[in-house]
């Protein structure tokens, strides 16, 4: 399978699932070309609503549609959704509305538009709400399964998607399940837990490290909430070293979630890699290199962390 942006895979999945399930509706805030709901909207104009540049109203309307029995996919850039956090907090979470929030353009990988359009704190914010599941799929296959899962799952879900193309990493027989991670490559010395944008770079870093006799286990953590606690503790127990890699602010993301669990249950040396400070404009490759999320940067951090 060639690479595909997870937002594009989401758009295709919606089209497929929407044909079978009349309850599915989409809500957009003038970014339907970017969130890739346009194809669904063309096919089902009566079930696609573009509410204009009014995210707060879109989220609330989505919550209402959910209360009336629909399965609304409420879509925008991740930053603009979480920008209306208090609306999510009450109208979606506390109400326990069956809303599927879809935040695209995750992270610094969006590049040139710069910080104001980058979803960098979304996981941290949404993770603090008790009942919203958070899923960040790695590739086309996993995205399509995660979207199907979200339709079946009773309760609010947050899907975090990329603007950029993602190379396939999941095997063809893969089955997504909430709270289950996937070991992409076995290893003994360190557990590399990646999610979203930099997952391919984690694998590449593991290859670089293998050439220096450092054996890195690479885990794809699509389910950020809940974590796959069993897999995490098992792998960390074996390798004794954990590195998290994500295109998200260092504070409160996947790394924060892993730190919380390990700190309480099984203190293990941990290094978190992510975005420091605000994001900025630039080409996505250059930005990943600057923040140490490219293969060389990840490998260098692992080396230093292991004192090698």
């Amino acid at each position: 399978m060639p690479g595909k942006a997870t937002r594009a895979a989401f758009g295709e999945a919606l089209l497929e699932l929407g044909a079978r399930d009349e309850r599915i509706v989409t809500l957009d805030a003038d970014l339907s070309k970017s969130t890739m709901t346009v194809a669904f909207a063309k096919k089902h104009p009566d079930r696609a609503f573009n509410l204009g540049i009014a995210e707060q109203n879109m989220i609330g309307t989505g919550a209402g549609l959910a209360l009336a029995g629909k399965i609304p996919f409420v879509c925008s850039f991740a930053c603009f959704l979480v920008g209306r956090f208090e609306t999510i907090r009450i109208s979606v979470a506390y109400t326990n509305a069956n809303v599927k929030l879809v935040g695209t353009h995750a992270g610094i990988a969006i590049g040139e538009d710069g910080y104001s359009q980058m979803g960098l704190e979304d996981v941290a914010c949404i993770r603090s709400l008790p009942n919203i599941a958070i899923v960040q799929p790695a590739d086309e296959l996993e995205t399509k399964q995660a979207v199907a899962y979200a339709v079946e799952h009773e309760g609010p879900v947050y899907l975090r998607l990329t603007r950029q193309t993602m190379e396939p990493v999941c095997p063809p027989d893969y089955r997504f399940r909430l709270g289950q991670w996937l070991v992409l490559r076995g290893g003994r010395d360190v557990t590399l837990i990646g999610s979203g944008g930099p997952i391919g770079n984690c694998l590449e870093a593991a290859r670089l490290l293998a050439a220096e006799s450092i054996s890195a286990e690479v885990v794809n953590a699509a389910s950020i909430k809940p974590l796959d606690e069993d897999l995490l503790l098992r792998s960390a127990g074996r390798t004794g070293h954990v590195v998290t890699v994500e295109d998200h602010a260092l504070a409160g993301g996947l790394g924060g979630a892993v730190a919380e669990l390990l700190g309480e249950v099984m203190p293990t040396p941990l290094k978190r890699l992510g975005v420091q400070g605000f994001g900025e404009s630039g080409d996505s490759k250059g930005l990943y290199a600057k923040h140490g999320l490219d293969p060389a940067g990840i490998a260098a951090s692992v080396r230093k962390f292991l004192n090698r």
């Binding site: 003038d30 540049i53 538009d113 359009q117 630039g282």
Partner: protein, 305 residues
């Protein structure tokens, strides 16, 4: 009275620079930059008291470009005014450049507020206007909104607040708000997504004095700004009818040119149109005009990259 000929000439230069910097960046928003540039130029070169050498002068007039994605228009005008060298324009959106894809006041002196998340600029403008009044400074505040942008709820919270905030000691009659009414947002035409009409009556109902103008006619913009300055006790609202992509025929009124950069060949065609030169006369024009010749050379080099 504004020097219409001079301001029109500056606006034309700025349009050329907008096209140039977007072509170099390879991404960005030409439509809304071209619709807003006549407003920006009339303000910065014909109205506002500001000093590029002292961007933090406390008594300066302020311009808040709430529709932050159109910042190439602001950068072009700022470079022309002397805030930074024109050479720097082509670093737009490149890693390490102070010319961020959306305005960042911490990297570029002269930028008043971080905008780019739509809907926030008017509230910030209210606060600045109130603060200036409380300090007793005569400075004025100008805020430019996009038409799609005013679908945001925060804009209407600010709209409700504007005519009342600071009353009675500090009415915000130092604030002028301009709507860049180009009829197009990102996904489609505004009227197809979420119609604003009757937009004039809406702002009036919220207590704002409102005038309606052609946002590409310098004399009309200037006259409305006079009216705003003469108004006491209330902030002032200008509905500026504009054309998205104004000045480049293939961009005008085309939603697809909201957020994509011209390719080098398109950029050259755009520059030619902005300068008002026919295809037939173009080579001859370039032979005589070394500045444009250099620019076209630069754009052609981009194509080979």
């Amino acid at each position: 009275m504004a020097d219409v000929v001079r301001l029109d000439a500056i606006a034309r230069e700025c349009r050329v620079q907008i096209i140039r910097m977007l072509a170099h960046a390879g991404s960005g928003h030409p439509g809304g930059s071209l619709s807003v540039i006549d407003l920006v130029v009339t303000l910065m070169f014909g109205r506002m008291r500001h000093d590029p050498k002292r961007p933090d002068w406390p008594e300066r007039d302020r311009l808040i470009l709430s529709k932050g994605h159109a910042v190439p228009a602001l950068y072009a005008a700022m470079a022309r005014a002397g805030y930074f060298p024109e050479d720097q324009l082509i670093t737009l959106r490149k890693l390490g450049s102070p010319l961020q894809g959306h305005p960042d006041r911490t990297t570029l002196p002269g930028i008043e507020a971080a905008t780019g998340s739509l809907g926030q600029g008017l509230s910030i403008s209210l606060g600045i206007a109130l603060g200036l009044k409380m300090a007793g400074w005569p400075a004025r505040v100008y805020c430019i909104l996009g038409d799609g942008e005013i679908q945001e709820g925060q804009v209407w919270e600010a709209a409700m607040s504007g005519p009342q905030l600071g009353q009675p000691q500090h009415p915000l009659d130092n604030l002028t708000v301009i709507l860049d009414y180009n009829k197009i947002q990102l996904d489609d035409f505004v009227a197809k997504i979420r119609d604003l009409e009757p937009v004039l009556a809406k702002w009036q109902a919220f207590g704002w004095p409102v005038v309606e103008i052609d946002g590409h006619k310098i004399d009309q913009i200037d006259k409305a700004l006079d009216q705003a300055e003469a108004t006491r006790g209330k902030p002032f609202f200008i509905v500026a009818h504009t054309v998205k992509g104004k000045g480049v025929s293939f961009m005008e009124n085309q939603p697809e040119w909201h957020g994509k950069a011209p390719k080098p060949a398109e950029a050259i065609a755009a520059v030619r149109e902005i300068l008002g030169v026919s295809e037939a006369a173009w080579e001859e024009y370039l032979a005589k005009d070394s500045t444009t010749r250099a620019l076209v050379g630069e754009l052609r080099a981009l194509e080979r990259k």
